[in-house]
Amino acid sequence: MSDTAAAHEAPTSTGIDHKKLIMWLFLASDCMFFGTLISTHLLYRKLFPAGFTDAEGHQRFIQQLFSIELTSFSTFILLMSSFLMALAVSAMHKGQLKSFRRNVLGVIFFGLIFLGCQVYEFTHFYHQGLTIQNSVLGSTFYVLTGTHGTHVAIGVLWLILMYFYSFTGKLRGHMGALDVEVAGLYWHFVDIVWIIIFTAVYLVEYLGPYGIWGSGLPAAVK
């Protein structure tokens, strides 16, 4: 730990603010939650590599639905929102409320773009025949990415409330900066989960003609 951080040590038995410690413990538990969802998706992709059957009875592969351009754009947007969140936290630590508001508005805007992309993706997939009920792939995919999207939506709502709260004059000093930092931790967590999802769910489907799971397909399906 740096000397500067030591100078701002909280007056608790651990030297860490309780709010921050609780948030980190929550994130650790959320890590296990997402770990289970990602594991389930990967295992079922391994067990059922054949994708899904659409309404007309045609065998479809997930690679035919994915849009690497859209997903890459979403990933870039979320990474940049994380950058803006780090700047917002930094601004609050320096007591620059206007800079904080500007950066938080950027995070909210990027978060809403990400959610818009996800809504578009889900709608597109649904119309292409992939539903939460018609295949194991649909179930695990929608539950995993939907849970992540819900986290993003909660984060956006939290930041909108924090933005308006900053106009009351109560969001100031060390405690104000701590509140923003805790919200920032949550937002960054949402970002790191997406980093894993982007690789484990999307990118691996582009490896080989039938994705990374294609080797498990029966010859008749290929």
Partner: protein
């Protein structure tokens, strides 16, 4: 809350914050470049195993870069790192255990349908 917590930030603290600000900019650029490289990588004509290994390393690099710098773990107390690492280790252990339990070679998937 005590009055010491409402005091203006010290000059040392502000210098540190400015230093972090530059770290954040460099990291954001680095994250964008690595994400771009990941997308290019999946189209390269190299063995799948090699691509998968590099993708995993890149994702892990991005993951830890965000938690260390953006989430301030590198500046904060070690206890926070170990708290989070415990959750992360359990998540990874869950995946490994499930992978061992549900090996595709040993399970009859007709049971599910």
């Amino acid at each position: 809350m005590s009055s010491s917590h409402e005091a203006a930030p010290s000059p040392d603290f502000l210098v540190e914050e400015v230093r972090r600000y530059h770290h954040f900019i460099v990291l954001a650029l680095w994250l964008a470049v690595v994400t771009g490289a990941e997308i290019v990588l999946i189209y390269l004509p190299i063995p799948t195993a090699a691509i998968l290994t590099i993708l995993t390393l890149m994702s892990a690099g991005k993951f830890f870069a965000v938690i260390l710098w953006f989430m301030h773990l590198i500046y904060d107390k070690r206890l926070l790192f170990w708290c989070f690492f415990a959750g992360l280790a359990l998540a990874f252990a869950t995946y490994t255990a499930l992978l061992m339990l549900f090996s595709a070679d040993r399970i009859d998937t007709r049971w599910f349908s």
